[in-house]
Amino acid sequence: MKDLAVSALDAVARRGVTYADARALEIREREVTTKNGKAGHVSSSESMGIGIRVLAYGCWGFAATDDLSPAGIESAAALALEIARSGTAARKQEVTLAPEQKYEATWASPFQIDPFSIPVDQNLGVLLAVDAELRRVSGVSLAEASMHFERRRQVFASTLGSLIDQTRRLTGAGFAALSYKDGEIQRRSYPNSFGGQYQLKGYELVEELRLLENAQRVAEEAVALHAADQCPEGQFDLILDSSQLGLQIHESIGHPIELDRVLGSEANYAGMSFLTLDQLGRLRYGSQIVNVVCDARLEHGPGLGTFAFDDEGVPAQATDVIRGGRFVGYMTSRETAAAVGQARSNGCMRADGWERLPLIRMTNVSLLPGEQSLEEVLDADHAIYMETNRSWSIDDKRYNFQFGCEIGWEMRHGKRVRMLKNPSYSGITTEFWNACAAIAGPQHWTLWGVPNCGKGQPEQVMGTGHGASPARFRKIRIGSAYAG
């Protein structure tokens, strides 16, 4: 792998470049799913290739190949340079990069049990036991369970002299029960939608999730939702569980702070951001108890955004994003850092594989725990509590959002008084975060994995991490999804 990365770098560097880097990757994945008592998708895959990024003629070029023969690498190197040259046809100014150090490092994410050491039949055994427990509940029409394992080794070499060898292992697992009755479909997922929880861990995550112990409760909730009252429409205090709050952070804080969006790079696809440069240090993003960080360091936890170095060789860092409610930081790259006066990148460039270019991506964007107990968070006179995402949508500048959840409860004085189906809420990002009234403490904080974040053209799908505790928000618009 190291030889591959170095030879690819040599192949392009000797052609004369301002800067170049090469990433050689070897990816192994396993996917195991079950559905209604049978194996669903059982697959194993491996992929190996190299991506060569070059800065020449003041422009970027990038070429990737899985033809790892000397001729294949030479061809990719030549193509990367040809592509960079073509960019001069529409160049406004030469690309410049913030300085960075040279690093030689080897790093692997910690794990206890190598997921690939567990046989597939054992994976299926766990999932089929969950499946059986789900279908034991009368009214469950579809039971689905899944596990996903990934090992990704990347060697990064750059003309700065860096040579960084990183291996990341991640695990995901979860299940869902779906109930169809009389023209209505209800669903409950555990521990989260999108296939459950994902973290940078080994197979120990599967054991920690206690899937089987939660199956009956979750299945019963899916069925019970048919008889629940429709979530009312109006303004209510809103309490979110930590998984839904994780997605709220992702959509309404994580994406808006991507500096490439702010500067227009994604205008044609993912969109831009309401966080224009003049807002930095000035905007009251949230209430005073709202503190958000972007933290790729292992100290933050085993998130899908945890690494030692980003994909342009910048060390993992922690950046304050919102401090005491005030907006104080973007996610940056070596190319964009100068736009906000940073002397160096804060290390957020990530690519979803060897065949794609690194982009500014969320690492772990987390709401820091509050000082309230869970009882204090729940203790509103009258509130709606919502759990587990069902639908999510936000405009292309990240102002207006609407989320639907799988289940809700009407709360009075901290107690659940009735179950609600089809709950949803909506609002404007800064109004929502400024309405944050209570955040539960660290013992209720979970670092959630979002495995399916899309961005870029060609689109890249990235895993991101979001830590959150349950929190309460004042006077939020509820029920808009079914309005009208």
Binding site: V42, S43, S45, M48, S86, S391, D395, K397, P458
Partner: protein, 448 residues
């Protein structure tokens, strides 16, 4: 391209040998290669400019009712032996499934010609020149351009030990552009197997015109409006329902068509086919098991007529497969992916002229399902939303959030245009008309 017919057959020969050595005779292989490039621009300059060459091999044995898939992009003799051994090993660790069909038998496929030399051989310079011309057109209007121009070719071969040899090669070009003015934006996009069918300059001029005409947007109250959805908006919104035209989804209880087959659920002016051979369509004439794709009448004059069946779903239902199955093993079964919506004879201009008060929508964004059985979807308008008054476009408007049931929407269609190949961002490209729809449900507005 490393893959050609001979390469795929040679690889499959090695797959067969490796499987037989391990005592397995039933095996399927997919050999897929792609050579794709994309020139991306923003702020009136090319900023991301990429190319990728990929080949992968995926194999699936069938052993006494068991199956699993293993994939690799290493194509040495040893690597092919290893991937076959891996697939066999994990397949043997699954329980037998009495419903698992044997491998598909050979069939005849309808020929489709979707590969064009000039698209396959497009150079970075050619894309860059077209992008530069498009940027100039937008910049001349005092606006800022962002977008992509991609070109590429792909080859997909599916072979199995029963003699299936299905091969499809295709080229594809896409041009998409957003023009941004001080407080407004416009967008246009097109795709075609032959890049000669695209005009980046025309698309740029369209985007620039929309940006100019939607400047100083007015904020209107949310509510029920007559809307005119351009084809890309029709595509991205109606595209949310086609995965439900699946026998497996219906059996699983996750389709809105459960208990609705044979019923009139849309207006009589709605007719929808799935037709892989349509001249404006793209993709292979066979499915993920090598079954020829049949033309389906999904909706006829508002009545749901047919849904897709994979081989397994067809066997369970006692009917014939339609050629819409995904590669096995999978939990979703099948879905139609070559949608062709019938249109009408009303042009977009005529729709506007016949509207007293309404909203013209260029594009929709971030569409997600809110209610799976009533098929309510939410999302935003984007990049060119206009007020129509007294038969003409009078102003740009701030973008709306909608929460709209698709059954209701397709029951409220007042006019349709001639369908075109439409390209958006939320679903497969399809052949779709513009639509004039009454009582479209906008529930909120945003700040721009």
């Amino acid at each position: 391209m490393r893959d050609n017919a001979e390469t795929a057959e040679a690889i499959f020969g090695q797959v067969l040998d490796a499987a037989r050595t391990l005592g397995v005779t039933e095996i399927e292989a997919i050999v897929a290669s792609a050579d794709e490039a994309l020139t991306r621009f923003a702020n009136n300059a090319i900023h991301q400019n990429v190319a990728e060459r990929t080949t992968h091999l995926s194999v699936r044995p069938v052993i006494d009712g068991r199956t699993a898939r293993a994939s690799t992009n290493r194509l040495s003799r040893d690597a092919i032996r290893e991937v076959v051994a891996e697939a066999i090993a994990i397949a043997k660790l699954t329980e037998p499934d009495a419903d698992l069909p044997p491998l598909a038998a050979p069939a005849d496929y309808q020929g489709v010609e979707r590969w064009f030399e000039s698209t396959a051989r497009a150079t970075p310079e050619e894309r860059a020149r077209a992008v530069a011309e498009a940027i100039r057109a937008v910049a001349t209007a005092g606006q800022t351009a962002a977008g992509i121009y991609s070109t590429g070719e792909s080859v997909f071969s599916l072979l199995n030990s029963r003699g299936v040899l299905a091969r499809h090669r295709e080229t594809m070009a896409r041009f998409s552009i957003t023009a941004m003015a001080a407080d407004s934006s416009g967008w246009a996009k097109a795709s075609a197997c032959n890049r000669a069918a695209l005009s980046p300059l025309e698309l740029a001029l369209t985007a620039a015109r929309k940006a100019a005409e939607s400047s100083a947007p007015r904020e209107l109250p949310p509510g029920r409006y007559t809307v005119i959805l351009e084809p890309a908006a029709v595509l991205d919104l109606t595209g949310q329902m086609f995965p439900d035209f699946s026998a497996t989804a219906i059996r699983d209880g996750r389709s809105f068509l459960r208990d609705r087959i044979g019923k009139r659920i849309f207006g009589e002016n709605i007719t929808i086919h799935d037709d892989a051979s349509h001249p404006l369509q793209s993709g292979a004439p066979f499915d993920g098991e090598g079954v020829p794709r049949k033309r389906l009448t999904l909706v006829e004059r508002g009545v749901v007529r047919e849904v897709a069946y994979s081989r397994q779903a067809a066997a369970l239902a006692g009917t014939a497969p339609t050629g819409h199955g995904f590669p096995l093993p999978n939990e979703f079964g099948e879905a139609p992916t070559n949608i062709v919506m019938a249109g009408g004879g009303t042009s977009l201009d005529e729709m506007v002229a016949s509207t007293d008060r309404g909203i013209l929508v260029t594009r929709l964004w971030y569409i997600r399902e809110v209610d799976p059985y009533e098929k309510i979807c939410t999302g935003m308008t984007r990049d060119g939303t206009f007020l129509i008054e007294d038969g003409r476009v009078t102003a740009g408007v701030r973008n709306f959030r909608f929460n709209q049931g698709l059954i209701e929407m397709l029951s409220n269609v007042e006019a349709l245009s001639v369908p075109v190949r439409a390209s958006g961002e939320e679903t497969y490209d399809m052949v779709a008309p513009a639509m004039k729809v009454r009582e479209f449900n906008f529930t909120e507005t945003t700040r721009f």
